[in-house]
Symmetry: D2
Subunit: 145 residues, 4 copies
C-alpha cells in the first residue's frame, strides 16, 4: 500500500526550501491543505452524485450549484496553501475567508438533504465541508493575530 | 473570422433559462466574466513568460508566485459568474472580494517589473489585472446596495 | 471599450521571451488558445444553463456530465498552450488529442439537444465545441508533420 | 483525527446512485482517483518548491513547466474519475492516456533532479508521478479489454 496523500503533502512541505518563512504552524497548515483538497474532490463527487439522483434531481439543483462553486473555491485555496514561496498575506486572508464562507453554505445545504431526503452522499459532503471550514478558520485566526 | 469569446459568453447568458434572476446588470456581469477569464489566462501566461526570462529569473520569483495565485482565483471567480442557477450571494461576495484583492496585489507587482525592468509581458498582465479588479469591484458595489 | 481577450493573449504571446521556440505557427496557436478557453467557459455555462432547465433536467444529465468533463479538459489544454517555456511535445500531443475527443463528444451531444429540444444554450455550446475541435486538430497536424 | 481523504472518496463512490454502471473495478478506481489528486497537489507543490530554490532556479525551469502541465492534467483526470454519471468511455480513455504521458515525462524530469542535484522535493514528486502513471495505466487496460 502506498503512503496516504496527506503524508505526501507533509513530505513536500518539509522539503520545501522556504517552509521556514510560512506564517502558519506546520500541523495547522497540513490539516488545511488536506481538508481543502478533500472538500474540492468530495464536492465534485457530490455534484455528480446529485446529478445521478434521477428521481430527486429537481430538488437538488441548488446543491449541485453550490457544490460546483465550493469545489472551485476549495481547489484554488488548496493550491495557494501548497505554495510557500513568498506568499501575499492579504490575498491568502481573502481567499481563506471565501473558502470558509463557501464551505459553510455548502455544508448547510448538504445537511438539509442528508437529514430530510436521506441523501448519503450529501452526508459525506457535509463532513468534508465542516472539516475544511474549521481548518481554514484556524489559519485565518493565525493571520489576524 | 469567428465571433469573439465575449460574444459567445453574451449569447450563453442571454439563452440561460434563469438569467432573469441575476442580481447583476447584464453589461456589468458580462464585463466581469470576460475580465476574470482574461486575467486568469494572462496571469498563466505571465508566470510562464517570467519563467522564460533566464537572466532575470531570480528577481521574478515573487511575480511568478502571485501570477499563479491570481490565475487560480480569477479562474474560479469567472466560473462562478458564468453560473446563473440559484446563486448564493454571500459566497459570490466573498469570492469577488478575494478576486479584487489578488488583482490589486498582482497588478502592483507587475507594474513594478514593467516600469523598472521593462518587462513587456508584465505590462500586458498589469492591464488585465486592473481591468478585472475594476469589473469585480463594480459587481461588489451592486451586491452591497 | 477595452481590448478583446484574444488581443490580450496575442500581446502576451508576442512579448514572451521564448515564443521563437514554439512548434506552432502564431495564428494557429492564438486561435487554439482562444478557442480552448472559450470552450471551457461556454461548457461551464451550458452545464449550469441545463441545470436551470427545471422542466427538462432529467433529459439533460448526460449533457451536464459531458459539459463538466469538456470544461475541465479545455481549460487544462488552454493553460498548457499559453505556456511557451520548454514545452514537452509528447505531453502536448496527448492533451490536444484528449481535447479533440472531448469537444467532438460534447458538440455531438449539444447538437442533439439544439435540434430536438430547441435548447438555445446548447446551440451556443455546439459552436464553441466545433471551433475548439478544429483549432486543436490543426495544431495536432503540425506536431505530427 | 479525521478520516483520510481516500476514505472520504471511497464513501462518496459507495453512496453514488450510479456507481453500479462504472466500467472500473472499485479498488482500481479508488486508487486512480487518489493517485491523480495526489499528483496534482504534489506537482503544484514541486513547481513552487523549485521556484524557491534561489541558487538553482535556472536549472529547474523545465521542471517547473512540466510540473504545471502535469498538475493541470492530473487535476482534470481526477475530477473526471470522481464523476460516475453516464461517462463517455472514449473521452475517459483519451484523458487517461494524456495523464499517463504527463506523469511519465514529469516523473523522469524529477528523477534527474533527485539523483543529480539532490532535490528532495523532486524525489517526493517522482513517487507521486509514478503512482499516478501506474494507476491510470491500470484503468486504461480495463477500458481496452
Amino acid at each position: 500500500m502506498t503512503q496516504s496523500n496527506t503524508q505526501a503533502i507533509q513530505r513536500m512541505l518539509q522539503t520545501h526550501p522556504q517552509i521556514g518563512q510560512s506564517p502558519f504552524e506546520m500541523n495547522a497548515l497540513l490539516e488545511a491543505i488536506s481538508a481543502a483538497f478533500e472538500c474540492a474532490q468530495i464536492c465534485t463527487g457530490c455534484a455528480d452524485a446529485c446529478l445521478g439522483e434521477t428521481e430527486h434531481l429537481a430538488h437538488l439543483a441548488h446543491c449541485i450549484r453550490l457544490n460546483a462553486d465550493c469545489a472551485d473555491i476549495c481547489g484554488t485555496t488548496g493550491r495557494m496553501l501548497m505554495r510557500q514561496t513568498q506568499p501575499d498575506t492579504g490575498v491568502l486572508r481573502a481567499q481563506l475567508h471565501s473558502c470558509v464562507t463557501a464551505c459553510k453554505a455548502c455544508g448547510d445545504e448538504c445537511e438539509g438533504h442528508a437529514k430530510n431526503m436521506d441523501m448519503k452522499h450529501c452526508e459525506v459532503c457535509l463532513e468534508s465541508c465542516r472539516r475544511c471550514e474549521q481548518a481554514c478558520q484556524a489559519l485565518l485566526g493565525r493571520l489576524s493575530a
